[in-house]
Amino acid sequence: MARVGVFVCFCGANIADYVDVPQVVEEVKRIKEVKFATEYKYMCSDPGQGMIRDAIIQYKLTSIVVAACSPRMHEKTFRKALSDAGMNPYLLEVANIREHSSWVHQKDKKAATNKAMDLCRMAVAKSIANEQLHEISVPVTKRALVIGGGIAGIQAALDIADARIPVVLVERSPSIGGKMAQLDETFPTLDCAQCILTPKMVDVASHPYIELIPYSEVIELQGFVGNYKVKIKKKASYVNFKTCTGCGACWQKCPVKVANEYNMGIDKRKAIYTPFPQAVPNKPVIDAEHCTMLLKGKCGICAKVCDKGSIDYTMQDEIIEREIGAVVVATGYDMWDPTPYEEYGVGRFKDIITSLEFERMVSANGPTNGVPVRPSDGKVPKNVVFIKCVGSRDEAKGIEYCSKICCMYTTKHTILLHHKVHDSHAYVFYMDIRAAGKGYEEFVKKAQVDTGTTYLRGRVSKIYKKGDKLMVRGEDAQIGQVVEVEADLVVLATAVSAPKDNPNLARLLGISYDKYGYLSEAHPKLRPVETAKAGIFLAGCTQAPKDIPETVSQASACAAKVCGLFAGDTMKKDPMVSSINNEYCSGCQNCLNACPYGAIVTEDVAIGHGSKDLRTVAKINEGVCQGCGSCVAICRSTAITLAGFTDSQIINEIVSI
């Protein structure tokens, strides 16, 4: 027989003015399970809580109802009071007689009192069905996985590692650095990107808490928050990094030339290569798709010239497994392919380049020694047309969103052009100039004055060739006329797009992505770095286009989240999760569809005691379950129970009034 204690709060005058509290107490005393009922001015105060503690002991109560403010307010407070009296804190129910009665029925004290009584009856009825619940503690593997070694991944890895938490940093290409390593200078301060990035790259390589696994990819993630197991495929580099000194003899002698990805294909690299001189790790890898030794078995020059004997043509891909507790996804972005812009002659005219190609050209360590040139004839361009929003904000041919960074980097490009080619003139076709950010608007204003760039508001409709010039025809909406600009070089500010592999990665990690392929955050405002799957966080452009400062902030935020997650040896988790009664489960597996977290899996269990006949039933991983109850309502056999909100509890509430 349940023994319920009811404690009705005055909340000063907040409740007592509109609800006849003594009458409520008298009424609940009539319920046969209620063995004790009382009232107090402030139940949440120390004396109030003391009353609860004392009554629990004195009347051997088995569950407690506090009729006061919303459970969203003080449920935790009262649960603690129960714990202090040695009672399971989940035997508490709160009747919300303030927000749901006294404050909303201030004109009718009788009705408000009646309602308060009903709310108490419901809470008593529910509490009778309450069960003792215990916080779930999930052991935590204190090691983080960071996927992607761009500035986001680097920052997250460094911040986590600085908290003395081991980090596994996985990078797909042979070197970390990402897109930022390809940039020349950064807006709005015109810092040299290399100068601020490379020290961080070196820090990563030398950090005792960071395990850098370059040239590799994540291929499998299993488990749940705090207890993930990851499989990483380390692609064969054909170079023994342990013995290689990075002297460079191999790539100097390699006879095979391949378009250089780092320089956007403007120049060539070798089949054995380091992506760029400041690469970390600064060890070459062999590009198996182009190496003649690997393809045809002839050549072997690099092995001959390597006096350390580090070249190993027989090397195989390797699968590395790590146990980790949290994941930071920082896979960055892709440049959008402007091929759909056929009216610009993309692909036909060599002198139309993308902004990242321009960036490489003007970069001091770029393929043209920092001077922009026309790809067609190598001449230095005088008139350069920059076209913004190529792909961005274009529902017909591109993508609907604003890529956020193009306005700023195009402004930067006009400055860089002006620096490198003094007698040049830049034209910028734009839709809007979006310069929201610290120092951004000032930067744009100053650039416009300093460089004398002609800004034309309007879209470009056609580019055609006239002699060796490109004629750019567009609208100048401010004078309402079609204008044509004779250009030596056209630079397209192509959109930022989600990495093509993001959907695959999302499926592999069990997180969601939006229609563009960007990974989805758990809440756009309040949980912008978490994903819906506990323990997986997002940093940088993989979530949405953003600039470097924002990327770094988000990466550091991820690090803070990871550190918070790892603060104790185990993670405490709310016990209000679902569980399955194997006997009732018919194994229809419909609940697997309904669970948004993938917390439900199947397992084979013996049908009877000692039987060898197996039956497939559902199984809930309580570490992953968030307690929404979708599966409970889906389950026809009522095999699933959600602790804290069981069918009995809810039906008790329904029938109690």
Partner: protein
Amino acid sequence: MNYTKEIQDIAAKLFAEGKIDVFVGYRVNGFDDNQVPVLITDPQDVSKLVFTDKSVFNLVNYLKNDHTRRKRVGLVVKGCDSRSLNLMLTESQVKRENLYVVGICCEGVVDEAGQKMQNCTDCMVPDAVVSDELLGTPSGSDTLSGSYKMNADIAMLAEKPLTERAAYFEEVFENCIRCNACRHSCPLCYCAKCCIDQETATLYNGANTTSGAFHALMTWSLHLAGRCVDCRNCEKACPSHLPLHLLHKQNESVIYENFQEHLAGVVTGDRGAFYKYSLKDPDDFIM
């Protein structure tokens, strides 16, 4: 429609080849020309099998039986039966490799009075959608996006004033004797233990009263919403002759018209309408 010979041959062949342990079919009941289901385990008895337009029952129901579970079974399915089989497969209740399915391109079956059954005149999926062997000529009807035939009873009742409907159904539920024959005859009621019978039974109210019947039948029909294939096994089994199809057809019409779903069970792997959702589902009934 008479496939007696073909089915006898197939069953005999399957037994001869040792492919099945039991064959589920129909036989004549022995005192009139109506038929009852039969589970044949002895190849000698194959000659008892018949199939005509009197073969009304949905034999998939026998797959949840202990005589057939974990055995290799041959069985005969009409269009509607095959849909319930499809759902059983989707919901992992039977293993396809254990079954040899003789599909029928059904021309409709008749009730005891010789009248074509209402679900047959309304039938949208006459051909078996799952089969190893198909007998008869496929109708070629569009099972995936064919236009929905509104059940005449539903349409008639929907037009009645609310009070009349309430009175009508009150009598329906009053006449229910809570024998659970509907549940036992339904191939999709395969739960290890029905929710109505569990410890929470008091919560569910399985009492033999009008309100108990109301509760049980409403819950039952909602559990079959988006899954019922309109085979009418329940109605044939009901000793009180309750018009149980009304509840199912009502749910089916709401689901079909509002959620852009296929009919239940026409696509293998396609779960019932309650186990998925679309962002385009109607929202206008919610404030």
